[in-house]
């Protein structure tokens, strides 16, 4: 049984048995490489639920402020963001029935589009680690592993960290990738070079906030960029304001980001926004030996106070 069928079966059961009121998952989209998050209330409609390597949106984004009992589909990173939400009191563990999906990485549709150099994907199917891409007059078989999202290439937590049921067998966690090889390259730059790198990175930003809104961490009722009294940051596309938005957003995510990559996938102008958050993830790992969302007990390092802290300035 494939992941989609198993997810539908579990979802049907928990809705019928009234374990949950709703299930949040994905349905097959209207484009070959897009899936649409969906809220299912009716057990009869669970056959809509779908899973494959294009479910890049982090479903944890849909949890804050919901009050009913929710079944939710979660790959490794989604489950870590659910854990972050639980720690940050955005949702209660008792409200959730987590259907975990062990994940072998999401495919970056941008990489497939670039490969085809203007030709259009009309259909894509996957089996046993291969993707078959078809279009007008062509068919290619590609190794899925060569087209993963950048965050998935470096992912060390492919299995869900919390779950109530699994939609597939657990996968082996990888030991081999250096999860921060890209950040090390950034760290090696001088400060001026680094500033130029980041300025270039965001030069096409339209301030549409797709990165922020796709991020499960960004649940504030009023984001600092939207506040108008006081106004923290200008709303035009002035480069200083745009940079302020990106840097401040990244700092708000420090110690909380699971590197799910939803921000980058959501960007309509293909900005690699993860460069902002990744360096902070590495700092948090180096300084506090902490990775976000691995436990529902531990508070994020930057909002933790300990009387026995080893640093004198805070005691």
């Amino acid at each position: 049984m494939g992941h989609s069928d198993k997810i539908s079966e579990i979802a049907k059961k928990i809705l019928e048995e009234k374990t949950v009121d709703v299930v949040i998952g994905f349905r097959k989209g209207t484009l070959p490489m897009m899936r649409e998050p969906v809220l299912i209330k009716d057990a009869e409609r669970t056959d809509q639920l779908y899973w494959d390597s294009f479910c890049f949106i982090n479903l944890a984004s849909y949890l804050p402020k919901r009050e009913e009992k929710i079944g939710i589909i979660a790959k490794g990173c989604d489950s870590r963001n659910i854990a972050v939400h639980i720690v940050e009191n955005q949702i209660k563990r008792e409200q959730l029935y987590i259907i975990g999906v062990p994940c072998e990485g999401m495919v970056d549709r941008g990489k497939i589009i670039s490969l085809l150099d203007g030709k259009e994907v009309r259909e894509i199917t996957e089996s046993d680690g291969d993707l078959t891409v078809r279009g007008d007059g062509f068919e290619h078989t590609l190794k899925k592993g060569d087209y993963l999202q950048d965050n998935c290439i470096r992912c060390m937590h492919r299995n869900p960290v919390i779950y109530d049921a699994l939609a597939g067998d657990l996968v082996e966690e990888r030991k081999d990738p250096d999860p921060y090889d890209d950040v090390k390259a950034l760290e090696a730059m001088g400060s001026e070079e680094r500033w130029e790198f980041f300025s270039n990175l965001i030069k096409g930003c339209t301030r549409c906030y797709a990165c922020r809104n796709a991020c499960p961490l960004c649940y504030c009722p009023a984001c600092f960029v939207d506040e108008s009294d006081p106004q923290w940051v200008g709303k035009s596309i002035d480069p200083t304001d745009t940079m302020t938005f990106h840097i401040l957003r990244a700092y708000h995510c420090a110690g909380r980001c699971t590197d799910c990559g939803a921000c980058e996938q959501a960007c309509p102008v293909d900005i690699k926004v993860r460069f902002f958050t990744r360096k902070l993830n590495k700092d948090v790992l180096d300084l506090y030996d902490c990775e976000a969302g691995l436990s529902t007990e531990e508070r994020p390092p930057l909002d933790t106070y300990r009387p026995d802290d080893y640093d004198e300035f805070i005691r």
Partner: protein
């Protein structure tokens, strides 16, 4: 006005000649997608693009525009007086604009130039731009222009429409502005009837290739309240993350916000693109927000394009079928589905 011929090999010279009078913008592939950028000396124009990622609306409605400037310096005799910011309207040519995007400017025009309101900057910018369009020989599978009074070789809004006939481009002159442009570019060779026929066949062939179709026939007749209260909005809106990707990429979204930005005592009044997806868009000074819920905002976007605009301007839907929002919505909300839901929804029995 007639049909002229530009041999592909002559195109660089034509553009070079245009550059003496106009700022010339051409589609350039950069970081994986196309944008309209100023033509560099000696640059070869790439005609293989399907469309630019962002619509060309910013040529007429810049994302951020300084409207006015003022000083808060009490010592100045002009303190607190708002003055129009200096602006230039250099003549520009947008080469390769697609017919859908040109039509979109006409759809938006009725909002900025009508008997009630005339936006001087929109009008002057539109006047200063000459649109040298390129028809679509190979429309995308997400294009549905032919369903919304547009098409791969639609002429509305363009000054010249180019037909790519392989060896050469047939330039169909549509306005006096276009005629002048071709003169400046040194394009004077008339097309013979064989090539004209070929161009017309190309149009027919491209129209047949359009794979997406949406129904629009009942939208105008629907009761607005029935659509507003339709049962499908919750399902349409669930996935929406309320980002502005759709509205910022859309060639017909025109909404803006006006902000004052003050540095020391010098201020600018700036008009920025805004998005009905943002909660702040309708937040009142009182703190009340008439569209506080996501579903209300999503409904607004579609109702505005497919119903309010239709009723107000009797000008069809405010959508040209370019497919940008379809392709770039991160959560796959597909306006083609919403067309179907709205057009084919059941009417209320009370009427």
């Amino acid at each position: 006005m007639g049909d002229k011929i530009i041999k592909k090999g002559q195109l660089p010279n034509v553009l070079k000649a245009l550059k003496k009078t106009f700022e010339v913008f051409v589609p350039v592939r950069e970081d994986g997608f196309y944008r309209l950028k100023p033509l560099k000396d000696g640059e070869k124009v790439d005609l293989r693009f399907t469309n630019t990622r962002l619509s060309p609306k910013s040529f007429v409605l810049p994302q951020s525009e300084r409207m006015f400037e003022f000083t808060l310096d009490e010592k100045s005799k002009d303190a607190h007086i708002v003055k129009e910011a200096p602006k230039g309207y250099p003549p520009k040519v947008v080469f390769g604009i697609r017919p859908c995007d040109a039509k979109a400017l006409r759809l938006v025009h009725v909002n900025f130039d009508n008997p009630e309101f005339r936006d001087p900057w929109w009008i002057k910018r539109l006047e200063s731009v000459t649109l040298l369009g390129l028809g679509c020989n190979e429309p995308c599978s997400t294009c549905f222009c032919t369903s919304v009074n547009c098409g791969p070789f639609n002429k509305e809004g363009l000054d010249v429409l180019l037909y790519d006939l392989g060896e050469c481009l047939l330039a169909r002159t549509l306005t006096e502005k276009g005629e002048k442009l071709l003169q400046v570019g040194g394009v004077d060779k008339d097309a013979d009837s064989g090539l004209k026929k070929k161009a017309d066949e190309l149009k027919t062939r491209a129209e047949k290739k359009i794979g997406s179709h949406v129904p629009t026939d009942k939208l105008g007749k629907k009761n607005v309240n029935d659509l507003f209260d339709a049962p499908f909005w919750d399902d349409v809106a669930f996935a929406c993350i309320n980002c502005g990707a759709c509205t910022f990429l859309c060639p017909t979204c025109w909404c803006f916000d006006i902000q004052d930005e003050v540095t020391k005592r010098q201020g600018d009044r700036i008009r920025n693109w805004d998005s009905c997806m943002f909660p702040l868009f309708t937040l009142h000074a009182s703190g009340h927000n008439p569209r506080a819920q996501k579903v209300q905002r999503v409904r607004q976007r579609f109702m505005h394009k497919l119903k309010y605009y239709v009723d107000k301007y009797k000008n069809g839907v405010a959508c040209v079928g370019c497919g940008r929002c379809v392709n770039h919505c991160p959560v796959n909300i597909d306006i083609r589905e919403v067309f179907r839901l709205m057009n084919d929804s059941e009417d209320s029995k009370q009427q």
